[in-house]
Amino acid sequence: MFETIWFVIWGVAWAVYFMLDGFDLGLGTLFPFLAKDETEKRILVNAMGPFWDGNEVWLITAGGVTFAAFPRAYAIMFSGLYTPLMLLLFALILRGVAFEFRNKEDSRAWRATWDTCLVAGSFLPALLLGVAFANIFQGLPLDAAGLFHGNLFTLLNPYGLLGGVLFVVIFAVHGALWLATRTEGDLQARAGRMATSLWIVEAVVAVAFLAMTWFSTRLWQNVLAKPVLLVLPLLAVAGLLALRVFAAKGAWWKAWFASSALILGAVLFGVAGLFPNLLPSSLDPAASVTAFNAASSPLTLKIMLGVVLCFLPIVIGYQVWVYLTFRDTLTAESIRKGY
């Protein structure tokens, strides 16, 4: 019972993380393609500025939930995926300081250096997390003792790589739409065009990924066994289509929310399809790490449920307040006046 509740919390934490940090990772990836000059670069940075740090804490929370509720899964996942996680870590470190450092020195080379960190530090996490989750969906080479029989290249199989591309493209569209909601004029038009042209790639990759999921994983079988869960992939597909319709009308906020629905639907579909596995084993189904064989003690799960139910609503409350406070349109004028 508590294990199942925590499995849901685990999945929702990841889904919310991807929905929120997704737009700033995507916008960071598109940075060199969207910003023409220093003023536009600063507009892009300011479109992420008040939010990215708080968004990233959802990743820490997703990791923390894994550690607290499923310590064995945390131990196996983090040690088994050692190299990709270290790459993710270094990417996030350089990205985080890039925001702070880039405007601290009046030099082109200085800014170019930190902008490179910002771009690489946005692109790599999207790619790595996509590769990691696709591999988790299809199963990791884990033995009964939880030892990972493979290396970084084990993860770079066709399905894993397609997952990586999917995350990068979804986040890029999500980020371009976010920029369109926050800007006006030429920059907004370019952001919108970027979103609609990338949308074609997004749709093709998403359909290919969903099709390949049928053959490479057991997600569809698990979801079809409980047809009510079909609402999740349907939400993703509806989001994908609605996104395009709203973008064509220039309704950017609606398009961004449709993109959010796509991300929530897609991630929760993957999580629901995994249940009860957290890390299915491709070597031996019995060696899979599940919500039940990896869970913390009932007392810990109960206390932590109290903590989460008490604090997460507060967190969501003030984060929504921050989004509402900083929702104004960013222009060359507002950039000159502020910061």
């Binding site: 300011n46 500025g49 008040p50 939010f51 740090d53 708080g54 990233e56 804490v57 820490i60 929370t61 990791g63 923390g64 939930v65 550690f67 607290a68 509720a69 310590p71 064995r72 945390y74 131990a75 196996i76 996942m77 983090f78 040690s79 050692y82 190299t83 996680l85 270290m86 870590l89 270094f90 996030l92 470190i93 350089l94 985080g96 300081v97 925001f99 702070e100 450092f101 601290k104 020195e105 030892l147 913390s296 003690s297 007392l299 810990t300 206390i303 932590m304 903590v307 989460v308 604090f311 997460l312 967190v315 003030y318 984060q319 921050v322 406070t325 900083f326 006046k337 502020g338 910061y339």
Partner: protein
């Protein structure tokens, strides 16, 4: 080197480096919050400029503190997976509480504070920095409760081949955790105090923005004296609990070999672990160690010889770190006292002002020495008495850890160089010109 040695080295690099930035975050956030409150209450523009100037330095420091903190959460899983699986029921929960109860608040409102000067009312804006300050201190609380549990595990049962939570309240209210928390905060606040004193002194010697830096100096002088006194008085309480909770650590800190009563404290010594004695020792305070550890000169203090060699920490580094840390603490008290007494006529204290900037690194050193005592003094245990460090390491390859270790050295060297360069640059540049002067 093997995976264990490499992983320990990597943990040491990551933790020492992270803790170069954390204390200033904890202390300076409070000082900046106090400055902004003074501004809101008095309307004095100087306090607003102080908030902005010290706030800018705070942010430069804060960025590296945050990102290097990510490493620590990752490392328990990547390099210490057997530990994580063994104690995650308790330790993992504490880290998760830290994220939901404190880290969210801190990370969200630091951005509100930075971007919100024009968007929020004065009071709301000052509230944002208070939330950052309080959240970062609450964050420290949960992290230190988790560390204290490794030092002195309590409130658990051994079940299903791991440590499981039995009494949550015991874990978060144990005396060891509370003492560790306030001791760490004291050190952090001193770090911020010396930082502000030192940079203010640098400008006062050069007669730049004298009024501005005299005000900054006065705030920091009171602050530094209070926490220097606090840290020394409170440090004594730690000795007492160590005698009970971690006798091998206390014995190593004092290079104390033979269990006995009425044990003196040797102010000078050179431990010789191979021969289980001190090669030299002198300046003994009769009954000093007994008094410190038990509040009675006749109290019994366990010596290292009571424990198997395999269960003793490395004596020399722990002993030397402790001597150096305590020596620094008394220096801090002397400096704090002088700064406080002379705070109204500080511009005449030329020699003192010239020395102060050079003292900025010393609290940093004291903090790192403190962690050396805490972590090295706990060895060979990762969880004292429960799990050895050598049993905790992940089943990973030397190639993996070796590569990541090199990457840590490179990336951290770069971050450290850039961050300290920027701190120097903006500290020397001084505050923005006052609005009146600008006209």
């Amino acid at each position: 080197m093997d995976v264990l040695a490499l992983s320990r080295l990597q943990f040491a690099v990551a933790t020492y480096f992270h803790f170069l930035f954390v204390p200033l975050t904890l202390g300076l956030s409070m000082l900046v919050a106090i400055m902004e409150t003074l501004y809101v209450r008095s309307g004095d523009e100087d306090y607003k400029r102080m908030t902005k100037f010290w706030g800018k330095l705070f942010l430069i420091n804060f960025a590296v503190g945050i990102v290097t903190g990510l490493t620590l959460e990752f490392q328990f899983g990547t390099n210490w997976s057997r530990y994580s699986a063994y104690v995650g029921d308790i330790f993992g929960s504490l880290l998760a509480i830290e994220a939901t109860a404190a880290f969210f608040l801190e990370s969200t409102f630091i951005a509100v504070w930075f971007f919100g000067w024009e968007k929020l009312s004065k009071k709301a804006h000052a509230t944002a920095i208070w939330l950052v300050a309080i959240a970062s201190n609450i964050s420290a609380f949960w992290i230190l409760v988790a560390n204290a549990w490794m030092q002195h595990p309590t409130g658990f049962v051994m079940r299903n081949g791991r440590a499981e939570l039995a009494d949550f309240v015991a874990v978060i209210t144990q005396r060891f955790a509370i003492l560790e928390f306030i001791h760490t905060l004291g050190g952090a606040y001193l770090t911020a105090g010396f930082f502000v004193l030192g940079i203010s002194a640098w400008h006062l010697i050069r007669k730049q923005e004298t009024e501005f830096f005299r005000k900054s100096f006065r705030v920091a002088a009171v602050w530094t004296l209070v926490f220097a006194l606090f840290e020394i008085a409170q440090g004594h309480m730690n000795a007492e609990i160590l005698g009970k909770a971690q006798p091998t650590k206390l014995a190593a800190m004092e290079a104390h070999w033979e269990t006995g009563r009425n044990v003196p404290m040797n102010l000078v010594a050179w431990p010789d672990a191979a021969h289980e004695r001190n090669a030299v020792q002198g300046l003994a305070v009769p009954g000093g160690l007994s008094l410190m550890a038990t509040y009675s000169t006749d109290g019994e203090v366990k010596g290292l010889k009571d424990y198997p060699v395999a269960e003793r920490p490395p004596v020399l580094p722990v002993f030397l770190s402790f001597r150096a840390m305590v020596g620094l603490a008394f220096l801090f008290l002397a400096v704090g006292l002088w700064a406080f007494l002379k705070r109204h006529a500080i511009t005449e204290q030329h020699r003192f002002l010239r020395v102060l900037p050079w003292l900025i690194p010393l609290p940093y050193l004291a903090n790192e020495l403190g962690w050396t005592i805490a972590e090295l003094g706990r060895q060979p245990w990762i969880v004292y008495g429960l799990m050895k460090t050598s049993d905790a390491v992940s089943p990973i390859s030397t190639g993996q850890v070796g590569t990541s270790l090199v990457a840590f050295f490179l990336v951290y060297a770069l971050l450290g160089a850039v961050d300290f360069y920027l701190l120097f640059k903006f500290a020397r540049k001084g505050p923005e010109a006052a609005p009146a002067a600008a006209k």
